[in-house]
Subunit: 420 residues, 2 copies
């Protein structure tokens, strides 16, 4: 027996297996990894737009299809791609077996269309690996204790890959996609944007949920929980990609790692509410009950002659504008003297960096950069590793450029050991 | 609880669920059956040309894909249609659940791409039926004891439906397809062709395997073994269709029920072989090893001055012509004085009837009809319920017309109780 170099879970997304030719190309890559001595398990998504096609079919058949049947339908997409990839591998002389969710031991809760993974029973996969056979596992799907087919929701294949890597105690999980890795910001906005060799889980979470849609946050959280190194790389390019890992394993902790922008926000401000402690929770509960996801929230108390008053501002995605405005309008109507202001065209620009907490003045640097670029700031929100500014939408990209320049993100920094 | 009228397995083929609109139409029909008080289980095939599309995809990925992966791939087709049909039923207020092969307890042997059904574990389906829920079962697929996905081979969905009907002790199995039922012959060849209200299992077997491609022979055999009444009918038409049942349950036993033709045959004749008893078995074994399906076989011994000589004739499908000719050529070369004659354009015309055995002169009647129509007969083969004549291909359809006229198959005959 040849010594195993590393145990790796490789995940290929829908674009990477979008055509028969790409399926063959993926098989070539996997075969090369096996030839190099790595022990490999593969996770694949449904081909290209297969899932969208299935969703469209279901919409023509039923207005409100049961979640169980949606899962049954969607799970067929990955079934196609795993069979093709496994057959292509066998054609190259690499022993391989396609594995459905239930065969791969991906046991989930019964919450259809967004099932949580309960556990991974790796017996069958371990047996295949021990025989030198490559398991090709259907992403996105699982099985309940009762033998019902479930799906994990959008972004589910990344989560499958990470859960599998953790359960198989893999050395790392590689998410092979259609980008080279994670950039300091969108290269279409800032041409000098630089590919990051490494980012921390927390940074990745902020970057992903803020618009750099490379990895689903759920998969990053899962990886972070088990300290599973994640690599984001191009399926077909030669670039080594970006490694996502624990902040204490980073070679460099930057004050600012990247800049993101969300151009699709609406800002609502309620002014002149009474300063009562029940006001903020009940407003945001009402919004949550209307199914609206509130993003940035700011609150200020104004001292006035008739008692203290509360100003509450928040942003929502444009798609939630109507429902959020309805809730806010009802609220203003039931509180005398309160007013509602809606700004339909704002953008949220954020800087993210795990080292920010150790570097005072990072937030101030961002504000200054925006001020020098004549970009007015409408709202501010901060966290340990992130500073966000809400700005007029037409200045959103200019704000990204200003922030990228300010923190010199185009410059390659040499790794060094950080003082603890 | 409402009394159950009958327990029925309804099978809908790929054309019947070929579009979203047809899926909704099938759901309407099933809902109407439930409303009428029938207890219904549904079996569906993959949508339209879905299976062909998948086969094509696999061919682009692998020249000789493993059977296991072919099964994994193809089984996804039925998964799509069951989810859509079940969701459409639920949309109509009819409780329904899609069921994969493994969920429906369809346990098969491990012979991939043509798996035999080992048994049907009906526990889960019976539980659904008891709750008034319509199981919508994926045709064509099963699961091995080891949890491997299998398919039953072409025509497998009919077999699934019959196996399910038998296991569930249904009153009948209805195969809903794109024809009104079984005709005396192809109505495109003989405009007076008549729809048969009933045929015997044996007749159906001969009619199906001879070219009236309505029901897969395997499903008819399975139904015959358990005496399960089969109904062949149009999915969307109102015609009651053809009932297929045991010959002792037929109301009329016709000497001739139908006429079929296979226009795709090649005739090979080996003359002058030595008359040894090992010759026929070893020739046909050699053909079988080359994977050729021999159809009509005739053998004659000629007494000659240098000892008795054997003439062997047989037909194969045109697609097998090359391989069969190679085997035959090798044979002739190794037997001095033997010759090979190949006729590339023949057709096989057959009359089928369960009552034939009780009516002498049926075969003679066919020969006479062909002779009167100036159609030369090249080979003859007979069985209990069938007489086949091999004729020149360009006269094949004329032969069908002559036979149909001769046995007055266009005339509706009144049911009567047969003398036993």
């Amino acid at each position: 027996m040849r010594p195993v170099m590393a145990r790796i879970v490789l995940k290929y997304g829908g674009t990477s297996v979008g055509t028969a030719a790409r399926v063959r190309a993926v098989a070539d890559l996997v075969a090369a990894r096996c030839a190099a001595g790595d022990e490999v398990a593969v996770v694949v998504s449904a081909m290209g737009h297969a899932t969208d096609h299935l969703v469209d079919l279901m919409a023509q058949v039923s207005e409100r299809p049961p979640g169980r049947e949606v899962d049954m339908l969607l799970a067929s997409g990955e079934q196609v791609s795993i069979a093709l990839v496994a057959a292509a591998l066998e054609g190259l002389g690499v022993p391989a077996r396609s594995m459905l969710g239930f065969q791969a031991g991906m046991v989930t809760a019964a919450d259809h269309t967004r099932a949580a993974i309960a556990r991974v029973e790796t017996g069958r996969l371990e047996a295949l690996l021990a025989e030198g056979i490559v398991p090709v596992v259907a992403g996105f799907q699982g099985i309940t204790e009762d033998g019902e087919v479930t799906t994990l929701g959008r972004g589910g294949s990344d989560t499958t890959a990470v859960a599998l890597a953790v359960a198989l105690k893999a050395d790392r999980c590689e998410i092979c996609t259609d980008v080279d890795g994670v950039y300091t910001t969108d290269p279409r906005v800032v041409p000098e944007a630089r590919l990051l060799p490494e980012v921390a889980y927390d940074e990745m979470l902020e970057l992903a949920s803020l618009g750099a849609k490379v990895l689903h946050p759920r998969s990053v959280e899962l990886a972070a929980r088990s300290n599973m190194p994640l690599v984001v790389r191009s399926s077909f390019g030669s670039h080594p990609g970006t490694i996502v890992r624990g902040v204490d394993q980073l070679e460099i902790r930057h004050p600012v790692t990247g800049v993101t922008v969300d151009l699709d926000q609406v800002r609502l401000v309620l002014r002149g509410l009474p300063d009562r402690p029940d006001i903020p929770p009940s407003l945001f509960m009402a919004l949550a009950q209307a199914g609206r996801n509130v993003d940035v929230i700011t609150m200020l108390v104004r001292t006035g002659p008739g008692g203290d008053q509360l100003d509450l501002g928040f942003t929502v995605a444009s798609g939630d504008r109507k429902a959020a405005a309805e809730v806010a309008t009802r609220w203003v109507a039931s509180h005398q003297g309160a007013t509602l202001e809606i700004d339909d065209s704002v953008a949220k620009v954020s800087i993210v960096g795990a080292g920010m907490v150790h570097h005072p003045g990072v937030a101030a640097g961002l504000f200054e950069a925006l001020e020098q670029a004549a970009i007015p700031i409408r709202m501010i929100a901060t966290s340990e590793i992130k500073v966000s500014c809400v700005v007029p939408r037409h200045l959103g990209l200019a704000a990204v450029q200003a922030a990228h320049r300010r923190f010199a993100l185009h410059e390659v920094r040499q790794p060094r050991v950080l003082a603890r």
